[in-house]
Amino acid sequence: MTGWGVVALGYAVAGLVWLTLVLRARGGTRGARHR
């Protein structure tokens, strides 16, 4: 895997991490709201 394939994988991982953080920050998980 070279070139744009690596870039796509890396940016997809970054998108997932930020999506997780945004959902947690917006209170999308029960644990986030209560802790």
Binding site: M1, T2, G3, W4, V6, V7, L9, G10, Y11, V13, A14, V17, W18, T20, L21, V22, R24, A25, R26, G27, A32, R33, R35
Partner: protein
């Protein structure tokens, strides 16, 4: 007299700041994507894979910044600061875990393309792994300790340990023989050997990550603090001051709120 800095103990002030941070992070994030994927040229040697640096470097920077916030919050907790500081540290600790893990994932993906391996026993990689695990321990300790004073103090000690590891991680590429490249921007000579367009893409991405990280910590702080305004919590000097003799119904109400929050 109005305070010079915004009073983060006021929920309305926090929410207004969150909105500004959120919009600024979104706009700068879009700009960073366009610059990093479309405008910046491919690297002469690494090709397109170098574009992973526009995520890897800002993630590592934001992770280190979050650990710095953890350090400040930990010192405040150890000096007698209350729930505001422990909540700030918790949010920053979660951000540090997310960003350091992301920096690791990007570095590993890039390493597989450039070095041919996902992982190797390199000083930078090992020290970063220790820092990431310490941050996971900080968040876990904060969860296990509940809201007790002793739990907050134990958590703060783990936070200080994480902060002490940051300079070791940064200098690991200079102290020991490493396959990880030395700092491009934060180096003694301050002359960055990088294409101006690449530098612009990198700096915009750093700004976007920093703003988004600040938004996350502000949101998490708002979730953990009471919805109504309360007086700033005491640090050691204020906590040791003698209690006022005269007390009215308002004072009893404040004491009741504090008891519920403990």
């Amino acid at each position: 007299m109005r305070p010079a800095l915004p009073d983060l103990h006021q929920p309305a002030t926090r929410r207004r700041g969150e909105r500004v941070l959120g919009v600024a992070a979104g706009i700068s994030g879009l700009a960073a994507l366009v610059l990093g994927l479309l405008v910046a040229p491919p690297d002469a040697v690494q090709g397109q894979a170098q574009r992973l640096m526009y995520v890897h470097v800002p993630a590592a920077w934001t992770g280190f910044l979050a650990v710095a916030v953890v350090a400040v919050a930990s010192v405040a907790v150890l000096l007698g600061g209350g729930r505001f500081w422990s909540s700030l540290g918790r949010g920053a600790g979660e951000l540090a875990v997310g960003m350091l893990a992301l920096a690791y994932a990007e570095g590993s993906t890039w390493g597989h393309a450039a070095w041919g391996v996902w992982w190797t026993w390199d000083p930078r990689l090992v020290t970063t792994a220790v820092l990431l695990l310490t941050c996971v321990g900080y968040v876990a300790t904060g969860t296990l300790g509940g809201d007790s004073r002793g739990g907050a103090r134990r958590t703060a000690l783990v936070g200080l340990l994480a902060a002490a590891e940051v300079p070791v991680v940064h200098l690991s590429v200079l102290w020991w023989r490493s396959i990880h490249q030395p700092p491009t921007l934060l180096r003694p000579s301050l002359s960055a050997p990088i294409d101006p367009t690449m530098l612009l893409a990198l700096l915009v991405a750093v700004v976007a990550f920093t703003l988004a990280g600040a938004w996350y910590v502000a949101r998490r702080l708002d979730q953990q603090l009471p919805a109504t305004a309360e007086a700033p919590e005491p640090v050691a000097a204020v906590a040791e001051a003698p209690a006022p003799v005269v007390g009215g119904p308002e004072r009893h109400a404040e004491e009741h709120v504090e008891e519920v929050l403990q």
